[in-house]
């Protein structure tokens, strides 16, 4: 509607111009230019207007110029595609008196919205996934146009950094060496297993955002070289999730969590023994090594030139019983553009270090659990155990899940941040066997046991805007790390 009115105004100017151009003894004495709104996103179109003043029946015709993007003869500006915030000058020049010109500035920001999908996962694999949010990520050899777009990459607020399976990569990302000149490899332990493989460099593009020359992990199977060090696999009883697409349930993981790097200062200084995370890998074998922060796998969001203080995940509500496939958004930045404001969300700050780094306190039935967390990379709402909750686990192959006898079982817990903010979460758990008997992939009522804490997995995200703010980054809700919803 607004655009239609502006076009009428421009049309009027053109009509006046046609009328006045035949008269002599006129002059143009001034010109002003406006373009709104600003800032806008890559590819967005806006109307610019020029107001020409003069004496007699002067011409109001102008010629439009833009320093980037394109602009029509009627002042319709189309923003260029940018990967960082870019200022563009738009100038209108009077055709009757070319000395009269005026400029307006338009800020163009990257597109910060990336579609995500909760679906059965990459196919074929030996099972279908539930409550896993996927997106696609483009990686390129640094400073080149040799690129590959990888689909079905898991969106994970519980970790930081991009990791891709070697079996899905088709471009040779350059291996990174450590300070000894040997290949640098990494071991990363997750909730249910570990991954292992070399550190490589890539330009990462997602939505309109770009992380240039970023270290990423290439996850390799047990059968590849270098072999998995014992000090890596012995940190968990879980499997090597990098063995296959089926073992990972995805082609990769994009960690958009609370931290700037996957390890941080613990991997940089001689504080006790060297942690079994980064490995110096000469031909003779791999041993843990210290690395600088810059050598570590970064949260790609923190490397963007704009929208780099965190992410917001939006997923629509999912009714009891679940839905087949659900589409949502991964939006970069918090309060940086018109689509990612905190609005009424409550901020729950978390410790940046210590035994409960990244954790909130969840209170259930009067007992507080200080090592609880919010994690889009976990499937359901994982909490406590049958003895504490009174909810039986499922029999047979689904013992990792709750099968309440009264389904749905309505429950309530209270989350608290280190800033003292509190909020009640009402949630329901349905019988997982019944849920899995549907062919659905998205469940808001899937739950399972996790001794001693709450893990608010993807089931918690449906029907909420969940913000994850990165450590040491400023946001309208204060500096990260925090969660907000």
């Amino acid at each position: 509607m607004r655009r239609f009115r502006l076009l009428l105004a421009v049309g009027g100017v053109l009509w006046l111009a046609a009328c006045g151009s035949t008269n002599n003894g006129t002059s143009v004495t001034g010109i002003t230019t406006t373009c709104s709104p600003s800032p806008i996103q890559s590819g967005q179109m806006i109307q610019c207007t020029a107001t020409v003043t003069g004496t007699g029946t002067f011409s109001t015709t102008v010629v439009w110029m833009a320093t980037a993007g394109s602009i029509t003869a009627t002042g319709v500006f189309t923003a260029p595609v940018v990967s960082g915030s870019t200022s563009i000058t738009i100038t209108a020049t009077s055709t009757q008196n070319t000395a009269e010109k005026a400029s307006a500035t338009v800020i163009v920001n990257p597109v910060n919205l990336q579609p995500i999908t909760v679906d059965p996962g990459p196919q074929p694999q030996t099972f279908t996934t539930v409550d896993e949010a996927f997106t696609s990520v483009t990686v390129c050899l640094p400073n080149s146009n040799t690129c590959q777009t990888v689909g079905h990459v898991l969106v994970d607020t519980g970790s930081s950094g991009l990791r891709l399976l070697s079996s899905v990569l088709t471009i040779p990302l350059p291996q990174q060496n450590d300070s000894s000149g040997n290949p640098l490899d990494e071991c990363m332990v997750f909730l249910d297993g570990y991954v292992w493989g070399p550190i490589a460099l890539a330009d990462i593009s997602i939505a309109g955002e770009k992380a240039a020359s970023a270290p990423v992990q290439v996850m390799i199977p047990d059968t590849s070289s270098p072999p998995v060090p014992g000090s890596c696999s012995s940190q968990t009883t879980g499997p090597n999730e990098g063995n296959s697409v089926s073992a990972l349930g995805a082609n990769g993981v994009i960690g958009v969590g609370l931290f700037q790097q996957d390890c941080g200062f613990a991997c940089t200084t001689a504080n006790g023994s060297i942690p079994p995370v980064y490995y110096d890998c000469p031909a003779s074998g791999c041993n843990p090594t210290f690395v600088t922060l810059a050598q570590q796998v970064p949260n790609p969001v923190a490397m963007f030139s704009l929208d780099n203080n965190g992410v917001m995940i939006f997923l629509p509500s999912v009714p009891p019983g679940g839905l087949g496939t659900v589409n949502g958004s991964l939006i970069f930045g918090i309060g940086t553009q018109s689509n990612n404001g905190l609005q009424s969300a409550t901020v729950y700050t978390v410790p940046a270090s210590g035994p409960n780094a990244g954790d909130i306190t969840t209170t259930f039935n009067g007992v507080s659990y200080p090592s609880s967390f919010i994690d889009s990379g976990s499937n359901g709402i994982l909490f406590l155990d049958s003895a504490t909750t009174g909810i039986p686990t499922c029999s047979g192959n689904y013992s990792s899940w709750y099968c309440p006898t009264t389904s749905p079982d309505s429950l309530s817990a209270t989350n608290q941040g280190t800033n003292g903010n509190q909020g009640v979460v009402n949630f329901s758990i349905e019988n997982a066997n019944s849920l899995f008997n549907t062919s659905n992939s998205a469940f808001s009522t899937l739950g399972g046991p996790q001794t001693g804490s709450f893990d608010w997995g993807l089931a918690f995200f449906f029907g909420r805007n969940v913000f994850t703010a990165i450590e040491n980054m400023n946001t309208p809700g204060g500096p990260g790390p925090y969660f907000a919803y």
Binding site: A266, A357, F373, S400, P449
Partner: protein, 156 residues
């Protein structure tokens, strides 16, 4: 009722010196004797805090980086439970000894059910680990070795 006790400094120094010249044995603390607690302290280069609650002793080792391992020892001298927390999990093969392979096999036999916490519950062994990069929490215990009057939930 709890009271803090500390290992006699001289004994600890003596033991640590002995450990320094002898090859370190594997941790193998779960199900092992209480002497292995000092081995673990040496390995972690950590500080030791011991708490006597009569029914058992709890030895808490804190590494310089802030990782914590708690070892629960029965009056008979057997380590019946271990608890860990920190930015990285400890070396479970060392901490759980022969029970590590048992837990790994049990975990492997379980069909993949999604991204959920590690949980092994067999009649002779319970192992649980949860968390995310930067914050891991776990525990393991041998139900048969838990002293009378002590609950599994006391191991935390």
């Amino acid at each position: 009722m709890t009271k803090l006790v500390h290992f006699p400094k001289r004994l600890a120094v003596l033991l640590l010196c002995a450990l320094a010249i002898l090859p370190l044995p594997a941790w193998a603390v779960l199900g092992d004797s209480a002497a292995s607690v000092l081995n673990d302290q040496a390995r972690m280069k950590g500080t030791l805090r011991s708490v006597d609650v009569k029914a058992y002793m709890m030895h808490e080792i804190t590494s310089p980086a802030g990782s914590i391992v708690r070892e629960y020892v029965s009056p008979g001298g057997a380590v019946f439970g271990v608890v860990w927390e920190g930015q990285f999990p400890p070396d479970l093969q060392q901490l759980l000894g022969p029970y590590y392979q048992q837990a790994k096999q049990a975990a492997e036999q379980r069909q993949r059910q999604g991204r959920t916490a590690i949980s092994v519950e067999t009649p002779g062994l319970v192992v649980q680990q949860t968390g995310h990069p930067r914050s891991f929490h776990g525990q393991a215990y041998i139900p048969q070795l838990i002293p009378q009057g002590v609950k599994a939930s006391d191991i935390r």
